[in-house]
Subunit: 295 residues, 2 copies
């Protein structure tokens, strides 16, 4: 989108995979005239400057946001409340605050109270990621062709919502507007539960006797490998996702446990028809994905 | 391997993904002078000939094996006993019988008794596959760089074991020799449990309310998609794998349920340290895979 009117200055708080990818997009697509990076890690700030991700980088988050038209909070979910307390008083009147958090109810709960009147809060979740983390993990194509879900609170400033949507469209994303609670429920199924399972199954394999674990690694190509890729994701990020979408995730996990128990029972009793029916049902979803061009 | 002395005639029983890929390798790499296909589906036989997978194709499995130096049984595990009864009396003295079954104890139990004295039985499992099935799914590179595990019974003919190993090496595979029970235990962890979980989790998502299922499809790129790919695998094949590796698989599934319950409990009680520790442990396996060049 060549016609995105660039922000004069954006601030990116947290320069990990998401933050760095936002910086690269803003820089290379001309979406901001100036990029300021705030990160509590001095090492990350130094690396961000080496990677030319912004004009200025500082561990002082209040300073980082002071002149920004738009602030992107891209920190682990557990840090939102603390970040809000620091940046809230420093935000410019008329600025937009948005974020990349994987759960939206918790972001609104933790960051919302720190947003002063006259500042526009537009929570967002770009559904894009890799198993890599840190400033070096960022790349321009991360958001291209992916969904970005916005969950604006009731009465949100429409121009601000439009502006955030246009920014994400300019990175190649497609926009969807959702209720925060509904977002958290959908993502519990599509993202949080798969990650939970991947961590569990890879952990199970690790606990086998030593020699067996070695062979699991050797012969991982037969299915296990796909789980380890998911399970390589950032521990702090995922710990915080699990803790901040507790109800929806535990509900999904309970449903899965029931379905798994049903399959185990069918295997124990040699009920081939039941097993086949469950597999065929799973296959249909795959077909629906292919039809929806999401496969 | 240019120096593989080709078989005069091989028979492939069952012309699905595995059988067709064996046929293509034998044909294109000159591993057999003549290829005969046996499949109880007349449609599959016709398609195999259209695809030029062999010189002859028949639904009469006894006829298919009558002149073969080497017979590859590549049918679902549930069909091994019936196939054995039909082909057993027709096998040539000195012939080799091998297979592609995903579990080895059950293959030895079901096919072993039908192998007449003077015929060499070398059970094998090429650890390679895709989510596609049927004769059209076969391709030459399927086995390239992948492991093929041989589980010869005690006292197996060494020349026959060597010959089967050499055939697989000529397709690009790497060979490992294992005890059948140990093979089944390793594969329960690396392959059967991941598939079981994938079927369960995709089924869980299917059971959500209608609108939510549509959104799960739409936003599947966030983790769920990887599971649907595994879950698209052939239902009959996997039903039979589960039923024929019951003990090892149920043991693994029970361990997983315990690990999953531990994670659920940690989430419910907000135990961030416990969650993080479990995720970090899972990450280490991923690192080991990368070091073992299996990632």
């Amino acid at each position: 989108m060549a016609d995105f009117e660039p922000f004069d200055e954006i601030a990116i708080i947290g320069i990990g995979l998401q933050g760095a990818s936002i910086a690269i997009n803003a820089r290379d697509r001309g979406l901001a005239k100036r990029i300021v990076i705030g990160d509590i890690s001095a090492e990350n700030c130094a690396r961000a400057l080496e990677l030319n991700l912004g004009q200025h980088a500082t561990t002082n988050l209040a300073e980082a946001v002071a002149n920004a038209d738009c602030v992107f909070v891209a920190v682990p979910l557990g840090a939102f409340a603390a970040v809000g307390e620091v940046i809230g008083p420093a935000l410019r009147l008329g600025a937009i605050v948005t974020d990349t958090g994987s759960t939206k109810k918790s972001v609104i709960r933790d960051l919302g109270p720190s947003i002063p009147s006259g500042v526009h809060f537009v929570p967002a979740h770009p559904i894009a990621g890799t198993e890599h983390s840190g400033p070096d993990a960022g790349f321009k194509e991360l958001f291209d062709g992916r969904w970005c879900i916005l969950t604006p609170p009731p009465g949100a400033n429409e121009a601000a919502v439009q502006r955030v949507g246009d920014f994400w469209r300019a990175t190649g994303s497609m926009i969807e507007i959702m209720e925060p609670a509904h977002h958290d429920q959908v993502l519990a199924v599509t993202s949080h539960l798969p990650h939970l399972i991947a961590f569990a199954i890879v952990g199970t394999a690790t606990d086998m006797e030593d020699q067996l674990t070695q062979e699991v690694i050797k012969f991982s190509a037969s299915g296990f490998r796909d789980f380890t890729r998911i399970a390589a994701s950032d521990p702090v990020m995922w710990r915080d996702v699990f803790l901040n979408n507790r109800e929806a995730l535990l509900d999904c996990a309970a449903r899965l446990s029931e379905d798994l128990a049903r399959l185990q029972r069918a295997i124990r009793w040699g009920d081939g028809e039941e097993i086949e029916a469950l597999i065929i049902r799973a296959r249909e979803i795959r077909r629906a994905l292919i039809e929806a061009k999401q496969a």
